[in-house]
């Protein structure tokens, strides 16, 4: 009897705890929804009240000092948040007007105060919006804040410096990046792409002494994005020195983009590389350069043992020349039905649908 009662007591306690937990969870969700509604309502009210004035300012009917007087300091956060979409989507005079509004009014001091704050959240807020406004005067403080051990703060500061196009901070961006074990290649690359193309010569200098293969491949990717041809002789050395796979792949992509004829010999060599991902990238580079002497070798890779290489070779052959395209069509409908002929049919079918 006692045992039964004690067991029932345990069950009741467990049920009670579970119900309390569910109740708290529901309460939490309810409160989050309420807060979100209040925030959205505030934002809507803000937009309804001020949007027209901002439009008039962008249209040059207002001067920035007059405009800022209309906004209470408590609304600066909403104001900056609202201006964000204009800064990201507009260019030319419209964007310059917004930047002037941020940089030449008390909004600037507000952001600097945030940037100097000891609270990471505020620092990130300041760095982000100062970067977005391309606040040249803030770059020295952002550079100092770059030396942080918080990854998100680092990313925001680096992004800010890139948007300001502070090319002198390139070395600091790389040096500080090495502190973060989990900083991805894509993150670093997207930061560097926010610079304008004047960053390329600084990246080239950095690349010559760079030890990290990840950083090196990021630099090559950015140089490719800007189609920075003066880097070609240096990058060609990486192909001849048989550097690590990520560097080789990025180098091949680079040569395809800048169409550097001196790289043909290296591309020919990498078409026979032992790694399928390298062979596939070499095929794409050969097609982009359009070197006729590589056509036959690209075609032969349709018979490679790796499926991805086969598909890349078939797709490239379709575009390489009319002759290769005709060969691909013949292969597609040849007998017996092989893996190669299936791939050829698949490519031709894709292209015909694409053209239609």
């Amino acid at each position: 009897m006692i045992e039964f009662l004690s067991q029932t007591g345990i069950v009741i306690s467990v049920v009670f705890i579970l119900l309390t937990f569910i109740y708290l969870l529901l309460l939490f969700i309810f409160l989050i929804r309420i807060f979100e509604r209040i925030r959205l309502k505030k934002e809507k009210n803000f937009i309804r009240r001020w949007e027209r004035k901002i439009f008039e300012y962008i249209n040059e009917d207002y001067n920035p000092h007059e405009l800022i007087k209309l906004f209470p300091k408590s609304s600066y956060k909403y104001l900056l948040h609202h201006l964000r979409s204009y800064q990201l989507t507009l260019k030319g005079e419209d964007k310059e007007r917004i930047q002037k509004f941020v940089n030449e009014t008390p909004l600037y001091d507000y952001l600097i105060k945030n940037l100097k704050s000891l609270f990471i959240k505020k620092l990130i807020f300041g760095a982000y919006y100062l970067g977005l406004a391309e606040s040249e005067n803030a770059k020295f403080i952002i550079r100092k804040k770059l030396k942080t051990y918080n990854e998100l703060a680092y990313i925001t500061c680096a992004l800010g410096l890139a948007r300001i196009n502070d090319v002198d901070s390139i070395n600091s961006i790389f040096n500080e990046a090495s502190k973060f074990k989990y900083l991805s290649k894509d993150t670093l690359q997207s930061i560097l792409l926010e610079f304008n193309e004047s960053v390329c010569k600084y990246l080239l200098k950095r690349m010559e002494h760079e030890k990290s293969p990840m950083f090196k491949s990021v630099i090559i990717a950015v140089l490719r994005h800007f189609k920075f041809a003066p880097a070609a002789p240096n990058i060609l050395k990486y192909l001849f020195n048989r550097e690590s796979t990520p560097i080789v792949i990025e180098s091949l992509k680079y040569f395809g983009e800048v169409k550097y004829p001196e790289a043909v010999a290296a591309i020919r060599f990498y078409l026979m590389n032992s790694k399928p991902e390298v062979r596939a990238e070499a095929i794409k580079a050969a097609l982009k350069i359009g070197e006729p002497s590589l056509e036959e070798r690209v075609w032969s890779l349709i018979y490679n043992h790796d499926r991805n290489v086969k598909v890349t070779a078939a797709e490239s052959s379709y575009y390489f020349s009319n002759q290769s395209r005709e060969k691909l069509k013949s292969l597609a409908y040849s007998i017996p039905n092989t893996m190669e002929s299936s791939i050829a049919r698949m490519i031709i079918s894709q292209k015909i649908i694409h053209l239609n």
Binding site: E51, F55, I58, N59, S85, L88, L90, E93, D94, K95
Partner: protein, 128 residues
């Protein structure tokens, strides 16, 4: 597309999910005497076009519910609205989609970020 006389107000339908940008463009174009209808999602664009009969459509590629390319294909496949010029708005890296949009019959495209001056110039060019 017939030319619109100066007395007649030009009408544009702007399909854009960034509401703040859409309203700014509406404001800017209204200053030029253009009437702008706004649509924030890709849903129901064809119906809105039939209802409002705009002289031109500004169509963002990336839209919630239905993407810009599908909408364009739908518009160009409709006898009633297929002759209305469509200007596509895209971001960098969407070149393949823009190529496809031209195949479907887009009149022009503008890459984001854009300037409202450029936007206005392209609208007038497409309507000329």
């Amino acid at each position: 597309m017939d030319k619109v006389s100066p007395e007649e107000k030009l009408k544009i339908l702007y399909v854009e999910d960034q509401e703040a940008i859409a309203r700014l463009v509406e404001y800017k174009l209204s200053k030029e005497g253009i009437k702008v209808f706004l649509q924030y999602t890709g849903d129901g664009v064809l119906n809105k076009v039939i209802r409002t009969k705009p002289d031109l459509i500004l169509l963002d590629l990336m839209l919630p519910v239905k993407d810009g390319l599908s909408i364009l294909e739908e518009l160009k496949g409709n006898e009633e609205v297929k002759n209305i010029p469509v200007i596509m708005l895209s971001i960098q890296g969407e070149e393949k989609k823009i190529e496809q949009a031209f195949k479907f019959g887009a009149a022009d495209y503008i890459q984001k970020p854009f300037s409202t001056v450029e936007l206005s110039a392209r609208i007038h060019k497409a309507l000329a």
